[in-house]
């Protein structure tokens, strides 16, 4: 059963090829069927693979399949090989499952777009790349998937490339990601230099065999470089700025980027390399601190944004921060668990916001919404479930995963992590319900033009919403404290290594001392506090936000403008780089390099024109050349001794 794993990759690839090559000539229904069918089949195979893996005892759940040997040069070997273990099998289920629902939704959402086949071609390629990333068994192949994901995000964010803002956002996403990729690539090279292999299994086993001790400088450097890659792809401080702009793409693309693919890559990579990370307490501290800081920082920005998708974008950054915080304190299972539940409810929220935007003929500003709950009831109900889930109200999915992270950040980390994360949780509950109230409750502020066309979305859009709502409700039960299915399932990946004692960081999963039930009560209380605050401000006293923003004008401005980080980056990096590159271009490249290259070329060209004159067209001259050659050769043979 596990041998079928290559099919998981094959189906989306076939879909990409068909829609890319002949999609233009196919009917829209066919294009949609091919794309959804490809991901659907891929999902079915993923299920088969998953259950195939379950048949093995937990310790033996590692299966590698080499499709072909790809590069062999000296001691460097990179195979095109796939790896199935609990972590990757869970990831492919999330990617294909959530991806499939987003594809179905897209059929309805994109049905009027003229780039229909192009859209589905990219979407399939995106899914393929992400699957390659999570299934590869070595760093290089993972890097290929990593880069391909970046490429697809570029193509999809800039899908409406006629819009200047969209093509700019695409460029920004690509360039910012390159910065992280640079670190990742360096990390891979350093891994090869250190371990002489890039195969996951070999690298991780040689770490324990060759006795790298905790805090080793090389390991710290490697893990920091890899983490640099993760900050780019998973939108963490300081490389998060591309993600809010990425909503320029079609809304289902945002759902795909934020939920199933792309941004989870960084978390996955760190979880995959947990053996390396636990050996470097310093990197772990960096990861946890950046995660916690990002969680809070992005949440504060989310408090005041008015664009419905922008709020969700910052909430994604903030939630990713939680995942990194979990990884940073060694609770990898909690990180992956949150990744999964987040995939459910964030896909739901984005698709739901898409449904709202669809209903309002493209309006994204929440100040022009309100009171929509009666007009689009299904969207409202599902959106409500998603909001409750992310806010962390039991028994919805987000509660369990977030609660576990909060608990772990206290028991394995320290009080500071916990308090930052809790504050961020308070903000999360607040801004999510602010979004809900502004959009669906209160008086309608919809302008009459859009109001005329107000309608609930078609079946193929509401059905994925309903399914995702169901998952957002039940998804958390996989990780109930004390009887956590996901914990036991992932345990072989995260706790089979011995070094935990030495590094002083626990990778296992004991709950024990932290009074889990007390913590549950506290985090529920925090969520409820956030919700009631939002209720007070946006339902009870709708004029309060305005008064507050006038009162704390500076803070409000600061938050609304996202701490001016984009502007600071522009001044510090973008403009200086531009100026520097203009200098390099004008003087070094155009002057020196082009000058010398063109000079040589001109010289060769001159010779060329001189020598061609030898080609007179007269046989006598040609015969003469032969005679000259003859004399030359005879002289060389006889006299040249």
């Amino acid at each position: 059963m596990l041998n079928t794993v290559a099919l998981v990759l094959l189906f989306p690839l076939i879909g990409t090829i068909i829609n890319g090559l002949i999609g233009k000539n196919l009917r829209k229904e066919t294009v949609g069927c091919i794309a959804c069918g490809a991901i659907g089949l891929s999902f079915l195979v993923s299920i088969v693979v998953f259950f195939g893996l379950l048949r093995f005892p937990p310790d033996a759940r590692l299966f590698e399949k080499t499709l072909f040997s790809w590069i062999e040069s000296g001691s460097f070997k990179a195979a095109f090989a796939l790896q199935v273990d609990p972590l990757s099998s869970l990831m492919i289920l999330i990617v294909t499952g959530v991806g499939f629902l987003i594809h179905i939704y897209s059929i309805g959402y994109m049905h009027n777009d003229k780039g229909y086949h192009r859209y589905f071609c990219y979407m399939n390629l995106f899914t393929f790349s992400m699957l390659l990333l999570v299934l590869s068994n070595n760093f290089l192949l993972m890097f290929i998937g990593w880069e391909a994901v970046g490429l697809c995000s570029y193509l999809l964010i800039g899908f409406w490339f006629e819009k200047k803002s969209a093509s700019n956002a695409a460029k920004k996403a690509f360039v910012v990601n390159r910065v992280g990729d640079f670190g990742f690539a360096l990390g891979i090279m350093l891994i090869f230099l250190t371990f002489h292999t890039i195969d996951f299994t070999e690298v991780f086993s040689s770490v324990s065999n060759e006795g790298f001790h905790a805090g080793s400088f090389t390991i710290t450097l490697i893990t920091l470089l890899l983490f640099m890659g993760a900050t780019g792809k998973s939108a963490q401080i300081p490389l998060y700025t591309w993600l809010p702009d990425a909503m320029e793409g079609p809304t289902p693309v945002s759902a795909l980027i934020h939920a199933a693919t792309m941004v989870t890559a960084g978390v996955y990579m760190i979880a995959r390399c947990n053996v390396l990370y636990v050996l470097s307490p310093f990197t772990m501290t960096v990861v946890a601190s950046i995660g916690a800081a990002t969680a809070l920082f992005a949440a504060t920005i989310g408090l005041v944004q008015n664009d419905i998708k922008r709020v969700l974008a910052y909430s994604t950054i903030s939630q990713l921060g939680y995942m990194f915080l979990a990884c940073g304190v060694g609770a990898f299972t909690a990180g992956i668990f949150h990744l999964m539940t987040h995939a459910f409810f964030k896909a739901l929220l984005f698709l739901g916001s898409g449904s709202v935007i669809h209903a309002l003929s493209g309006e994204q500003d929440m100040r022009k919404m309100g009171g929509l709950r009666h007009q689009i009831p299904i969207t409202y109900k599902t959106f409500l479930i998603g909001t409750v889930a992310i806010a962390g109200i039991p028994p919805f999915a987000g509660f369990f995963s977030k609660d576990e992270i909060l608990l772990e950040s206290l028991t394995r980390g320290n009080f500071i992590y916990w308090s930052i994360a809790s504050l961020a949780a308070l903000f999360t509950a607040f801004y999510m319900f602010r979004l809900l109230f502004m959009t669906f409750h209160g008086k309608s502020r919809v302008d009459h033009h859009a109001a005329e066309h107000l309608h609930e979305s078609p079946k193929n859009m509401t059905l994925p919403l309903t399914i995702l709502a169901g998952l957002s409700f039940v998804g958390g039960f996989l990780g109930i404290p004390g009887a956590s299915a996901i914990n036991n399932f992932l345990a072989p990946v995260f706790s089979s290594h011995i070094h935990t004692e030495m590094s002083g960081i626990h990778t296992g999963s004991q709950h024990g001392e932290g009074h889990p039930y007390l913590m549950m009560v506290i985090s529920t209380a925090i969520a409820i506090a956030g919700i009631s605050l939002a209720y007070q401000m946006y339902i009870k006293k709708p004029d309060l936000p305005k008064r507050l923003s006038e009162r704390f004008h500076i803070f409000y401005k600061l938050l609304l403008n996202k701490y001016y980080i984009d502007e600071i980056y522009d001044v510090l990096f973008v403009n200086t780089t531009k100026k520097g590159s203009v200098l390099l271009w004008k003087y070094i490249d155009a002057g020196m390099i082009d000058g010398s290259v063109n000079g040589i070329a001109r010289l060769v060209g001159w010779f060329s024109n001189v020598f061609r004159l030898l080609q007179t067209g007269y046989v006598r001259n040609y015969a003469f050349y032969i005679v000259v050659g003859c004399i030359f050769i005879i002289v060389l043979t006889i006299l040249g001794k």
Binding site: A601, V604, G605, F607, S608, N609, F611, R612, L614, Q615, G617, V619, N621, Y622, A623, Y625, I626, V628, G629, C630, I633, I634, L636, T637, I638, G640
Partner: protein, 481 residues
């Protein structure tokens, strides 16, 4: 002293098919239709011969009183000849109809010429090699002037014939001197004779060797015996140009390597310096003059001179890697060169119009698939991975380095860089220039498309997965010394 007729069965089969072609041509009605079969009959002949070649014995075998040698080396070369001839027939089919030179002799001459090449590769003595060379050359002299109503074709044919006869004179003179000094024309016996002398060589014999270099240098278009190439390539019907740029050149190298690595193998220091200088001259002249060309056939002519220069490097290297590299290079050159000529044929119009390089402007938009195929061939000729040309150059330069000729390898690489200019210029013109003319409807036949597809696949296959063919080439090296 065996007369094993089976050992030359592929050659005999091909000869038989050549005559069948002539007979069918005479017997078939003058109306259209009859001649269409000729190409297919020839192809069947080629395929039959190829199957027989493939099934031939792999151990070294002498026959006809040690005048014919059948070994892996000759089989590999024979396979290349058959492949190139097959591709040429495929690209000729529609071309000679368009040019109104659809006479049955065309295919017969091509088959006879191929027989000559196969004889050359299997020749174990100088006279047999000479006979093969003449059979090949005389057929091509006629083919060059096949467009008999065109002045330029006649001129090319006459030039080729005159200079060819001149060069053959040197070759024959060289052979007779060798016979006079060593008393034999058999390659192995010449080697034995030289070995007995213990390295001290007779100046007269060395002169004979030098004259052989001239004769063969003419056939492979080595500078300064190359001057016929541009004029003849330009004047000949394009399909014939494609034919003579691959097969005869490969045959010339087959003989070059066989004579100099077996007969004169023990006195390599005597000829290496000559070939060394010829290699540099040939590469550099070919590449530099190619830059200034505006006619694509002339450009490809100079490019073929340059490729001969790279192959001479392998001869200088004088090691197993050089020989297997030559085999690999010639095979990849077959694919990329015939592919490029096939595209020239498709795009040109009756009377060989539109063969200026500027006529390719805008091709990338108008005929994207043809432009992609042409780009692949050009990249391969320039030696850019992942194409066959890259791997071939890699092996040849590595062979030179292995034998210590680092300077020669560097000059080769510099030349490869120069060549990038004129190969890439075609791509630049195809994709980045506005079309200067209307593209009239193309004469596309399934056969020529098949030839292009085979060439593209071959070029990429050898470039991406070279190991399989390279392994075969390594088993086909000359059993030296």
């Amino acid at each position: 002293m065996t007369f094993n007729i089976l050992s030359i069965l592929p050659i005999l089969v091909l000869a038989g098919f050549g005559m069948i072609v002539l007979l069918v041509d005479v017997l078939s009605s003058r109306k259209l239709g009859g001649k269409n079969f000729l190409a297919y009959i020839s192809l069947i002949g080629i395929i039959t011969a190829a199957i027989l070649t493939k099934n031939s014995t792999s151990t070294t075998l002498f026959s006809f009183s040690e005048t014919i040698i059948i070994d892996n080396y000759s089989l590999f070369f024979n396979f290349i000849f058959l492949l190139s001839t097959g591709l040429i027939i495929m690209i000729s089919h529609s071309y000679i109809k368009r040019e109104e030179i659809n006479y049955g002799e065309y295919y017969a001459l091509i088959l006879f010429s191929t027989i000559g090449m196969m004889l050359m590769a299997s020749g174990a003595d100088l006279l047999n090699i000479y006979i093969g060379l003449e059979v090949m050359s005389i057929s091509i002299y006629i083919l060059t002037g096949f467009k008999r109503s065109k002045l330029i074709s006649n001129e090319a044919s006459l030039k080729y014939f005159l200079l060819g006869a001149f060069a053959t004179g040197f070759l024959l003179f060289g052979i007779s001197i060798i016979y006079g000094t060593t008393g034999t024309i058999n390659l192995n016996q010449i080697a034995c004779f030289i070995a007995e002398k213990g390295g001290k060589s007779d100046p007269l014999m060395l002169m004979g060797m030098g004259l052989i270099i001239i004769g063969l240098g003419f056939k492979v278009a080595s500078v300064p015996f190359h001057a016929w190439v541009p004029d003849v390539y330009e004047g000949a019907p394009t399909a014939v140009t494609a034919f003579m740029s691959v097969g005869p050149k490969a045959a010339g190298f087959a003989v070059f390597l066989r004579i100099f690595l077996t007969a004169f193998g023990s006195i390599h220091y005597e000829w290496q310096k000559i070939i060394y200088i010829l290699a540099i001259l040939t590469m550099t002249t070919g590449n530099i003059i190619a830059i200034a060309q505006v006619n694509i056939k002339r450009m490809l002519a100079y490019s073929s001179i340059a490729h001969a220069g790279y192959l001479l490097i392998a001869l200088v290297a004088d090691n197993n890697m050089g020989v297997s590299g030559t085999l690999f290079y010639v095979l990849s050159y077959t694919f990329m060169n015939i592919g490029a000529f096939a595209i020239v044929i498709i795009l040109s119009q009756k009377g060989d119009e539109f063969i200026q390089i500027n006529d390719y402007a805008g091709l990338g938009l108008k005929h994207p698939l043809l432009a992609i195929a042409m780009s692949i061939f050009m990249l391969s000729m320039a030696g850019v991975p992942p194409t066959a040309g890259f791997v071939g150059k890699f092996y040849i330069f590595s062979a030179a380095i292995k034998s210590g000729y680092i300077g020669l390898a560097i000059i080769g690489v510099i030349n490869a860089v120069i060549s990038v200019y004129y190969y890439l210029r075609i791509m630049v013109i195809m994709y980045m220039k506005e079309p200067s003319r209307e593209f009239s409807p193309l004469t596309i036949s399934p056969l020529i498309i098949a030839a292009i597809v085979i060439s593209v696949i071959g070029t990429l296959q050898l470039g991406i997965f070279p190991s399989k063919v390279m392994e075969m080439a390594q088993q086909s090296i000359l059993i030296l010394k």
